[in-house]
Amino acid sequence: MLHPITNAHFLVLSAALLLIGTIGVLTRRNMVVILMSIELILNAVNINLVTFSRHFGDVHGQIFAIFVITVAAAETAVGLGILIALFRNRETVLADEVDLLKW
């Protein structure tokens, strides 16, 4: 009844998480949550990487995942910094209220 877990399970899970993250990026107005959604996307990537790492029996994928986490952290840090600067000037963190630049 319960079939064994294959790569496919992980990959589909990862794709699903990717989508959830994408939906978050696309729909949430709060930019902090958008940042969180990006974290979800990167997590999906990590799941992929670890799965493949396991698949190939080496650790390259895991190393890649470490870098992804690093990058995620760095991006988040800078993003939050910018967000604070923005918030200081604009008193908002809502994505659709930040539209001075257009057309």
Binding site: T22, V25, L26, T27, I34, A95, D96, V98, D99, L100, L101, K102, W103
Partner: protein, 719 residues
């Protein structure tokens, strides 16, 4: 002894030198007073200008003016002398042909299948003196010289004296080029050049709008004919590979007349279209009466004696070609006859002295084409030659009358002038007899010969002859109507005019007398064959020209001789004289004996009168057809342009071109340019959607990215 024959290229150059001198230095020689600055009346009042300069205001006779008076006629006299010398020497040649080629003008390749391969067209600056051009240069230089002399008096009081002589000399240059050219292309140079001079001289009084209009009309209508001429030359080139007269004639030698409408007929027809323009034949005759806006000596020289006969000359020059094309020849004769009678009928009722003469000219030119059309080329030239004398005389006389009356041109306001200006009267009297065809004056011989040839030639017909006779009657009638109204009867002059009346100075009357002499005697060298008792010397004209037309007449001559019937010729001759006399008599009856009769007739035959008076409504017919017909049918768009047309008062063809060009402008603005603008507009319009995507919301940007992914994956799935 100077070899004038090799110097014939100088003949046109003398007047050219005169023209150049006058146009370049004339204004220094003859300073123009400021009064020449003309201003429209309203504006003149507003700006304090002194209006239209008085045409007859006397200028101080400057030495420069004298120089102009010397150069103008002098250069023509030089040409005359050289011409005479050359003609005399030509007469001594056995071949009676002399060609001088200066240099190649337009060299080019041309291919013609008929010539069996290729040939090079090289239109040369080359001059040809043969009996035909000899006659022409003599006519041009003699009449031209006399008119130049006359102009010294006539134009003496006008502004732009230098300009006048400059243009006149220019005209003589081009006219001499035309008649001396050894090929069609150079002939065309003169052909266009005389058109230009005519344009300039018609518009001499350029402050008058009518003068400008008339000049423009003359030029443009002539250009229509010229287009035909050009096409004719091109077809000729394609057929013979040359436009040199001698070569063309050589190429034609040995050909049989065309039975249908072949290439030769086409060439002839196209050339004839050119001739109808220049010689004011149907349908392109309307410009000539308008051309009377020019000074009277111009009318005499250009629009009577020389330029308008260029078409006749050209047809005669192409006689070898026309003789091979019975269909076109018939068309030439028919057009000539139709023009003759149409113009004569109009002349019957015109009141402007110059207009009567103008229509008379058109009519007489019709005679010439009639002659040419029936294959009697020498007669056409003969009439050209006699006509030059009496028609120039008539115009100059009319000029003298107008001069005497201070500008009056309406014969209804003349009358009883014969004693006040006797020289004018007498010379014009002679000319009128001559044109009416009373023997032994010049007109009689030529006109009688035309009628006889029309009757007898295998190319002619009785119907054409009948038209000619009726025209002869009309000619006698309108000429003498003119004479009686002008010189006889009770004076009907205005107060001012009658005080002003005076005989012209000798400088004007001497040319009149000289021309009168010509009108009397010029015909004596072309007496009918049946007047054998005078001897062959009196048939000099025909013999002189015989070599030129030998090729042309060869086809028909034998045939014609067989039909030659002395008694019929006598009968016809007498008939024509009687007819002419009848015309004179009728004119005398109506205008001298019973001066109220014309009015009564006019009342009774009002429709006919009006048709004639309004020149058969030729201009108006075009107007009606194109203006009203199209405007009413064409709805609001067309009616917008209608106003412009009525306002412009141009004739039908002019209107039509303007209408189509308005359409073109419309098309250009809205369709051609519009489509370009549409593209620009569309591009710009697409710019906005492209920008609208850029909402400023970062999530829509992300959405677009996702759409990109979706499309990419979708593309994979749909593949």
């Amino acid at each position: 002894m100077v070899n004038f024959l090799d110097l014939i290229w100088l003949i046109p150059l003398f007047p050219l030198a005169g023209a150049v001198t006058m146009l370049l230095a004339g204004r220094r020689l003859d300073p123009q007073p400021p009064s020449e600055v003309a201003l429209a009346p309203g504006v003149a009042a507003a700006s304090g200008g002194n209006g239209h300069g008085d045409a007859h205001g006397h200028h101080p006779a400057a030495p420069g003016r004298f120089l102009i008076s010397l150069i103008g006629p002098g250069t023509v006299l030089l040409s005359l002398l050289f011409s005479a010398g050359a003609v005399i020497q030509l007469a001594g040649l056995p071949e009676k042909v002399h060609e001088v080629v200066k240099y190649t003008w337009i060299p080019a390749f041309f291919f013609h299948p008929a010539g069996g391969g290729g040939a090079r067209l090289a239109a040369d600056f080359g001059f040809l003196l043969d009996p035909l051009s000899a006659v022409m240069i003599l006519v041009v230089t003699v009449v031209g010289f006399l008119i130049h002399v006359y102009s010294i008096g006539y134009m003496g009081h006008e502004g732009g004296y230098y300009r006048f002589f400059g243009y006149m000399n220019l005209f003589v240059f081009f006219m001499l080029t035309l008649v001396l050219a050894n090929n069609y292309l150079l002939l065309f140079v003169g052909w266009e050049g005389v058109g230009l001079s005519s344009y300039l001289l018609i518009g001499f009084y350029f402050h008058k709008k009518s003068a400008g209009d008339a000049g423009k009309k003359a030029f443009v209508v002539n250009r229509i004919g010229d287009a035909g001429f050009i096409m004719g030359m091109l077809l000729m080139l394609a057929t013979f590979g040359t436009v040199r007269f001698v070569d063309v004639n050589a190429a034609l030698a040995g050909r049989e007349p065309e039975t249908g409408f072949g290439v030769l007929s086409a060439i002839a027809l196209l050339l004839f279209i050119g001739a109808t323009g220049k010689s004011a034949q149907i349908p392109l005759f309307t410009w000539l009466p308008d051309a009377m806006e020019g000074p009277t000596p111009v009318s005499a020289l250009i629009h009577a004696a020389t330029m308008v006969t260029a078409g006749v000359y050209m047809v005669a020059r192409s006689s070898a070609l026309f003789a091979l094309t019975p269909q076109t020849s018939f068309l030439v004769a028919a057009v000539g006859a139709a023009t003759a009678i149409l113009a004569a009928s109009i002349a019957l009722v015109q009141n402007d002295i110059k207009r009567v003469l103008a229509y008379s000219t058109v009519s007489q030119l019709g005679y010439m084409f009639l002659a040419a059309g029936v294959g009697a080329y020498w007669v056409a030239i003969f009439h050209l030659y006699t006509h030059a004398f009496f028609k120039a005389l008539l115009f100059l006389g009319a000029g003298s009358v107008i001069h005497a009356l201070g500008g009056e041109q309406d014969i209804r306001r003349m009358g009883g002038l014969k004693d006040k200006i006797p020289v004018t009267y007498r010379t014009m009297w002679i000319a009128s007899l001559a044109i009416a065809g009373i023997p032994p004056l010049a007109g009689f011989f030529s006109k009688d010969e035309i009628l006889w040839q029309t009757w007898s030639s295998p190319l002619g017909s009785k119907a054409l002859w009948a038209v000619g006779v009726v025209t002869a009657f009309m000619t006698a009638f309108y000429m003498w109507r003119l004479m009686f109204l002008t010189f006889h009867g009770r004076p009907r002059l205005s107060e001012e005019a009658s005080r002003h009346v005076h005989e012209s100075p000798p400088v004007m009357t001497v040319p009149l007398v000289a021309l009168a002499a010509g009108s009397v005697a010029a015909g004596w060298i072309g007496m009918p064959k049946i007047w054998t008792w005078f001897g062959e010397g009196f048939r000099l004209f025909e013999h002189w020209l015989a070599p030129v037309f030998a090729a042309a007449t060869a086809h028909w001559h034998a045939h014609a001789e067989a039909h030659h019937d002395v008694s019929i010729e006598w009968a016809l001759m007498i008939l024509s004289v009687v007819i002419a006399a009848a015309g004179i008599a009728l004119a005398r009856h109506l205008y001298l004996v019973r001066p109220d009769a014309p009015e009564a007739i006019r009342q009774r035959a009002a429709p006919v009168y009006n048709v004639l008076y309004n020149k058969w409504y030729v201009d108006e017919i075009y107007d009606f057809l194109f203006v009203n017909g199209l405007a009413k049918g064409g709805g609001s768009l067309l009616s917008r342009f209608d106003a412009a047309v009525v306002d412009g008062g141009v004739n039908g063809t002019g209107w039509l071109t303007r209408f189509t060009s308005t359409l073109s402008v419309w098309w250009d603005t809205w369709v051609v340019d519009g489509s370009v603008r549409l593209i620009a507009f569309t591009v710009k319009m697409f710019s906005y959607p492209a920008r609208l995507l850029q909402t400023g919301y970062l999530q829509s940007y992300a959405l677009v990215i996702l759409v990109g992914v979706a499309v990419a994956l979708g593309y994979y799935l749909m593949r």
